[in-house]
Structure formats: structure tokens, C-alpha cells
Chain length 472, copies 2
């Protein structure tokens, strides 16, 4: 490609249009920084000038810059333009507590690099609230009680102790109906979805319906498993489960749509279960933050309506910490073995953390921790709503009855400029558009997805203030 | 299939000949026990009568029975024949410390079920020697030192702290030349090999040479990745690396051939590196127990000869415990990113165990633990050799300079009868034939692969005595 970027050695192989352009540009720039072809401190051309060079919309370039600022590869400061961040690049990384830029193809790195001053990206709980002391106590008790054999290769489905505790815990807090034989432990939700993608493919599934809004990485995983992914319409009642058509399976966030924040309408809950019974379809229920509901009783898991047709997926990533890399499924009897086989016939999750989580749950420490987190996040949500009412009356918060994030509806046409302004202010913030499936028929909305659960307590007021400053 | 087994509901779809027969029979019987079609206590027909029913060699049936006795699904006692073990089957499994039979397709379950009285299966260290107290101390220090960000989604390559410590540790104890940027943490060797299989396939590799003796699961993983697997000849100098032919990569155990126990001959070490340089091939070095060498200086890693052409793979499964599910690779620079991408772009290993292992190594606790284990295993090896000399002079122990297992050469034609006798005595024991690649051109040898590292200290003398009783 002949343009001024060749002088930087940046190799931009881009399709000129379509939803892949922004990702392609972001990936190419990230790669150039990572490998050192763009050295730390290098000033990048303005988004206007690069857009002209590449024949792209200026917004596309600005969004790619904003993404990379949010990820910590670039810095943007008023007056000095957009630059490659100090500390980015290919220098060896040997210091405790530091983290090297990840390899190409990796999930966006976050929160461990020279990065934004304020972080309101959704998807991570307040890591400072991880109950370190209680966790260590549980680890000590669990290791003392474990038979020697527990340290061996073990059951590929996960430790029986954890599967047993989970079956009881999920029944109590989420209304899940299962037994330990049908629980499968996995190394995070993404690992679980990878297992399910392979198992679905192996049983001949072709099309998986997904929601109009969600996480790109989930859609990509299903596609990589050889499945066709088709988004369902979304409206004020949530995802339209009447439009499943020829899908063989559907991936849903029924308790708290991610990221829109609404629960699936009761009629549509019933409809999707009816569909599954009628057609033999499978429902994959992503219950990522079902325990964090503030204003009314938790909405039970969809799985409770039909354990034979719904795969329930839960995770410790929101209630405890992503770094544990522990998630779990409750599987329909007819699908449990296929999923275990797709897991690969060997355990891949460390047994010590599994035993510790079992002990942590059985001892009541997990319930106490969740209660404390629920109180913390609820207070933050209330502070967010109050700050918006006082300082940004044009902005309307939705999806706030539950979870660790809110959707802030913006005046039409303002999302990109707000995200851009945030990146200039050192505030990591994502617009709703990055969560919209490229084939969604739903009208695009201007909004922000604000992860109010993300900052540690001491940083929350500053992050909220920074947010209010960039809102219209 | 019309035979008396239909009355048990056991569905035996077997090819009548070929190396898959025994596995097919074993799988079908295991499945029948697991699902309850064969109830606990059921007496199975004699191997002679079942062999006649199925039109198989009697040995094939006897070996399948012996495998399932070793795995704990069946019991065999003189006078009462072969029966389905009490506790096997599909009853829910809720008690701490117990373990349900694993799903179909799983690796053979071991050591946690109503099983053999004595266990000399190779592949697992003495789990009773896991340094629980020292590990917990390291966990406490590691968690106290970890920044909050360490509990997030993290670097898909693994924690920088662990990669940094590993690079130094491997240089010191194994002569590995690498840096933290090229270390990839994975959830056990099998996970690592799965990653490498995908990465090799993605770069166009077609054929991977393997050793004539090894683990079936490794060959299967490579085959499932779409690679052709071809065994190399084996002789008194070890694996013949002069016969690599058109292979694009080769999987080797250079320091201590598994299971034969010999080191790769120096000329052949040089030859394989020459081959890799000449052809652009890659060497995958499985260094599973390189630190346990007794009679001379450790043999350094092959990787040290050419870090650009050798992928080094190490594991905590032998030096600490398989349950940690931690292993690592040191990758050639040109292959490091491809492998990280093949890992899937998200971390799958819990960060707490990663940080703990880093602290455990950095503090010197790991070195102390390995020294203690080396002494323990060496004593056992000496006891084994002495017992053989005194009680089974027809049996010759080989491959005993290192590792946690020995190969006992038997008089020709006796392997199957010894393994069978062992299973009747409640001694779990594997013959060498189960480690021989079905396409190996090497002449079959009668031998046992004795995992003398497996039992806890208190059970070792009894296991050794049981072994001597079944030897010719």
C-alpha cells in the first residue's frame, strides 16, 4: 500500500470499507507499536491527515486512535497530539508488576500498562476488592483437607468438590437445576464458549443466533469453530427471541443483557424455551453478573425453566477476579458428555484454585463477599445517576438495575466525539458502537458503556468526575 | 453385534483386527460400567469366553480387563473372577475426596477410585511429597506482592513474573537459552502440545516425526491437529534422528527417552539440530523430568544447542504435581507469536498459581524441593535394583540413570502374563507394549514400565514386594 505510512514501516493491508476497517487499522497500528516499528514517543499524524492518506473516514481513524489510547499503546494529550506511549514496544519485560504488550491476536490488554489515568471500561470488577485474606484462609483449609490424589491429573470435568458445591450454590442463588455430574469447570467464560463451539459443531449445529449487542470475541470464537453467527433483533423488550428462524442454538444474556442492561422480557424467556423444545435447539445462557442486582429480587436463571435445553454458564470473573480463570457450566444431560469430550479429555484448570473456590463457597465467604460488592457497586451506581442528573441532564442512564456497568444514552451523533474527548482527557471509555454486531438490523444508538465497577474505590470519584467533564 | 454381550446392553462396535481393537474394547466396557449398564458387582465372562464370543484373541480381552482393573473400573480377585468394581458406575458423586468416573473420551482415570492396592503406573510423582506448607507460604507472599492489576484478564502468554523467573531458572538448571518474551505458560504439557499442534498446522507443517515409544495421547493430539505422525526407528543409541526424511518437525524426549529411559546419543543430538538448520524443521523437546538425574551430571536441554530451532517444553507435573496444571515453553523467536496466537488470545491459567510458582522458584523453595525428591526417588531406584537382583535375576532394569520410572526387561513372551498376574494381585502395572507406536518398525520388546516414583513413601515397600512377586 503506497502512502506516507510506508515511511514508518507500518504495513496497512486494509479493505477500504466494511466493519473490518477499524479493527484492521487498530491491529496494524498496535502491531507496529508492539514490534517497535513505531518507537515510543513517535508523534502520529492527525486523524484527518491519516484518513486522507488511507482514503478512510476520519472517524474510523479517530476511533482506532482512541482504542489504542484506551489500551495504553498510544497517549493523547492536548497540545502534543497522539504519540506512541513510553513503555510500549518490544523491549524485554522483566520487572515484577510490569506487563509487556501482548502478542498479536491477543485480547485487548488492559489496566497493566502505561495507560489512561481513569478507567471506566466495562468487563472487570474492582480488582482491589478481591478478598485476598479470606481467599488465602480458604486455600489453607482446602489444601489441608485435600487427599493426596487430588493433586494428580484428575477428572477432566473439574474437581468433584467444586462441582458439588457449585450445583448447590447455583440452585440457591440462581435457581439453576443441575447435579455435580453435569457441571463442567472451565478456565473462564471464553474457554467455556470455545468448548461449546466445538461440541456444537461436532453435533452438526450450523447456525448460532446471538444478540445484536455483545462481545466481538464471543462471535469470533463461534465463527472460528465453524459456526454461522446471526444476530437477533433488539428492541425495548430486549432481544427478540421470536426471530430465531433456522438457528440451531442461541447465545443469550437473559438476566442482564450485555451491554444494554435490560433483562429479557418474561414472554421472550418463555418463547425461547418453547422454541428450544419445539425444534430441539439449545440455549446458551451467559449469566455473567446475575448476582449483582440492586432494585428487586434477582431474576432467576433461564436454565431453571428447562435444564434439558439450556446450558448455563457462570464465571468467577465478575464476582471475584478474572485472574482466577474459573468458570462453570451446568449442562443438559444429553450434552454433558459431548462438552466434556470437547474440553479435551484432560483437566486444564489448576486444582488448588478449584478446591479453594469450593471451600470459599461452602464456608459462606463467597456470599459475604458478594454482599459487600453488591453494596459497593450499588453506591457507585447511585453516585453515577446523581452526578448525571446534576451535571449532564442530556444524558440518560439505562440498564442500571443490575451489574457493574451502565449504558448512558447520548444525544444522536455525539458518541464518537465523547469517546474521543475522553481519550484526550486520559479517560478510558468505550462507546456502544463497539458492542454492536456488524450485521445487526437494530438502529445504531449513541451511547457509552460505563464500567462503574472497574476502578478501585479511591479512584472512583475522580473517574466519575472525568466522565462528567466529557459528557455533553 | 449379535453376541452374549447384547444381554448386558454393551454395544461393541469393533473392527476385528488392528491396533484399535484393544482400545475399542476397553472403551466400550468402560462406557458400559460408567453408564451403569454393567452394574457394580456384575461378574464378567472369562477372557477366554468373551474372546470366543467376539472373535478376538484372548490376550486382547485379557489386556482390556487388566487396563480396566488398573483404572479401577473392574476388580479381579482369584476365585471370584473379574467383576465391576463397587463404586464404579453412574451414581452421583458428592463426597469430598471421592471422584466420579470421568466422561467418555477422557484420559484414563487414576488413583482416586476404588482401585488397585498397589500403584506402579508411570507418569505421576509421589503426590504425598507435594510441599503443601512451603507452597502456601509462597502463595501468601505472592498474593501480598501482587498489584491489583495482576488479578485481571492478563497477558495471554502468562504472567510476566513467572515468565521472567522461568527464563532464569531454565537457563540455570537446564541450559535453556531464552528470554521472558519467548516463554509461554500453559496448562500442562498436553495443553502445550495442543497449542503447538495448532501453530504447526497453521504454518503449513504436514508431518511430525515422533519416537517409537511414547504416549498415545501425544500422537493423538498431533493427529487431531491435522498432522501426520510418523515414528522414528529406535535402537541402542536411542531414537534414530538420522531417519527424519521428509518430516517438518519432530517431537523428542532427549534427556530421558519416555519411557525407555535412555538419553539421546550425543551424535544424534547434533544430527537433529543439523537437520533442523538444514531443512528449516522444528524440534519439540519434551523435557518432562530433566531435573531428576542420579548418576551423573544432568544432560542439558537440547534447546541450548539452537534456541532458534528447538521448542523447549517443561512441566510442573513431575517436579511438583500434575494438579497445578502448569507447564511452559521456550519458543524460537520466529515461532513465539504464532504459538501465542494458537493459545487463543486469552489467558487460561490461573494467575494465583502462576505468581505462587514464580515466588516458589525465586525463593529457592523449588530447588530445595527438587533436591529432596531426587534423594527420595534415587533411594527407591536403588531399592528396586537391589530387590530385582535378589528376587528376580531374570529381569533386567534399564533406563535407571534418571527419572521416576524404570524399564524392566522381561524374558521374551512374558509381558502380557506378568501384567495380567499383577492385575490379579491388585498391582497396577503397565507393560511396554502400550507405549509402542502402532507403526513402529522397532522390534517389540517384552518389558514393564515401572513408575517407582508414584506411591507415597509408606506404600512403596509393599508395592515393590508385590512387583517382585509377579516377576518371572
Amino acid at each position: 500500500m503506497a502512502n506516507s505510512w510506508a515511511t514508518y514501516g507500518v504495513d496497512l493491508h486494509l479493505e477500504p470499507t466494511g466493519p473490518g476497517v477499524r479493527r484492521g487499522l487498530t491491529d496494524a497500528l498496535r502491531e507496529a507499536v508492539r514490534t517497535g516499528r513505531l518507537a515510543p514517543g513517535t508523534r502520529l499524524p492527525s486523524s484527518r491527515s491519516l484518513a486522507a492518506d488511507l482514503g478512510l473516514a476520519r472517524n474510523t481513524v479517530a476511533e482506532a486512535y482512541a482504542d489504542l489510547v484506551a489500551e495504553g499503546w498510544l497517549t493523547a494529550r492536548q497540545g502534543s497530539g497522539t504519540r506512541v506511549a513510553a513503555g510500549a514496544g518490544s523491549t524485554p519485560d522483566g520487572q515484577r508488576g510490569s506487563a509487556a504488550p501482548p502478542p498479536a491476536g491477543a485480547a485487548p490488554p488492559r489496566r497493566e500498562r502505561p495507560g489512561p489515568v481513569h478507567d471506566l471500561l466495562p468487563g472487570t470488577p474492582d480488582l482491589a476488592s478481591f478478598p485476598r485474606a479470606a481467599w488465602l484462609r480458604a486455600a489453607r483449609r482446602a489444601l489441608a483437607a485435600a487427599p493426596h490424589g487430588a493433586l494428580g491429573y484428575g477428572d477432566p470435568r473439574g474437581r468433584a468438590e467444586l462441582r458439588t458445591v457449585l450445583a448447590g450454590h447455583l440452585a440457591r442463588v440462581r435457581g439453576v437445576r443441575t447435579d455435580p455430574e453435569r457441571v463442567l469447570v472451565c478456565a473462564g467464560f471464553v474457554h467455556g464458549l470455545r468448548i461449546l463451539g466445538a461440541a456444537l459443531r461436532a453435533r452438526g449445529v450450523r447456525t448460532v443466533a446471538v444478540e445484536s449487542y455483545g462481545l466481538d470475541i464471543h462471535w469470533r470464537l463461534l465463527t472460528e469453530a465453524g459456526l454461522r453467527v446471526r444476530p437477533l433483533p433488539f428492541d425495548e423488550l430486549g432481544t427478540d427471541t421470536g426471530a430465531l428462524g433456522d438457528a440451531d442454538a442461541v447465545l443469550l444474556t437473559p438476566a442482564h443483557q450485555f451491554p444494554m442492561g435490560v433483562p429479557l422480557h418474561p414472554g421472550r424467556r418463555a418463547a425461547v424455551v418453547d422454541w428450544a423444545r419445539r425444534t430441539g435447539g439449545l440455549v446458551l445462557e451467559d449469566d455473567y453478573d446475575g448476582q449483582f442486582r440492586y432494585d428487586r429480587q434477582p431474576i432467576g436463571a433461564l436454565q431453571g425453566l428447562d435444564p434439558d435445553r439450556v446450558v448455563y454458564l457462570g464465571t468467577a470473573s465478575k464476582s471475584l477476579a478474572p485472574g482466577l480463570r474459573l468458570a462453570w457450566m451446568a449442562l443438559p444431560p444429553a450434552f454433558a458428555e459431548e462438552a466434556a469430550v470437547a474440553k479435551g479429555g484432560t483437566e486444564t484448570c489448576g486444582v488448588l484454585d478449584q478446591l479453594t473456590l469450593a471451600e470459599f463457597m461452602a464456608s459462606g465467604a463467597h456470599d459475604r463477599h458478594v454482599r459487600a460488592c453488591r453494596l459497593r457497586y450499588r453506591r457507585r451506581r447511585d453516585a453515577l445517576v446523581a452526578a448525571l442528573a446534576a451535571r449532564a441532564p442530556a444524558v440518560h442512564a439505562t440498564g442500571i438495575a443490575a451489574g457493574l456497568h451502565a449504558v448512558l444514552r447520548l444525544p444522536p451523533g455525539t458518541e464518537q466525539s465523547v469517546v474521543r474527548a475522553a481519550s484526550w482527557q486520559g479517560l478510558a471509555l468505550w462507546g456502544l458502537s463497539r458492542f454492536r454486531h456488524p450485521d445487526a438490523v437494530t438502529d445504531p444508538l449513541d451511547a457509552l458503556v460505563v464500567g462503574y465497577g472497574t476502578p478501585p474505590d479511591h479512584a472512583w470519584p475522580g473517574a466519575l468526575d472525568a466522565l462528567c467533564r466529557v459528557l455533553p
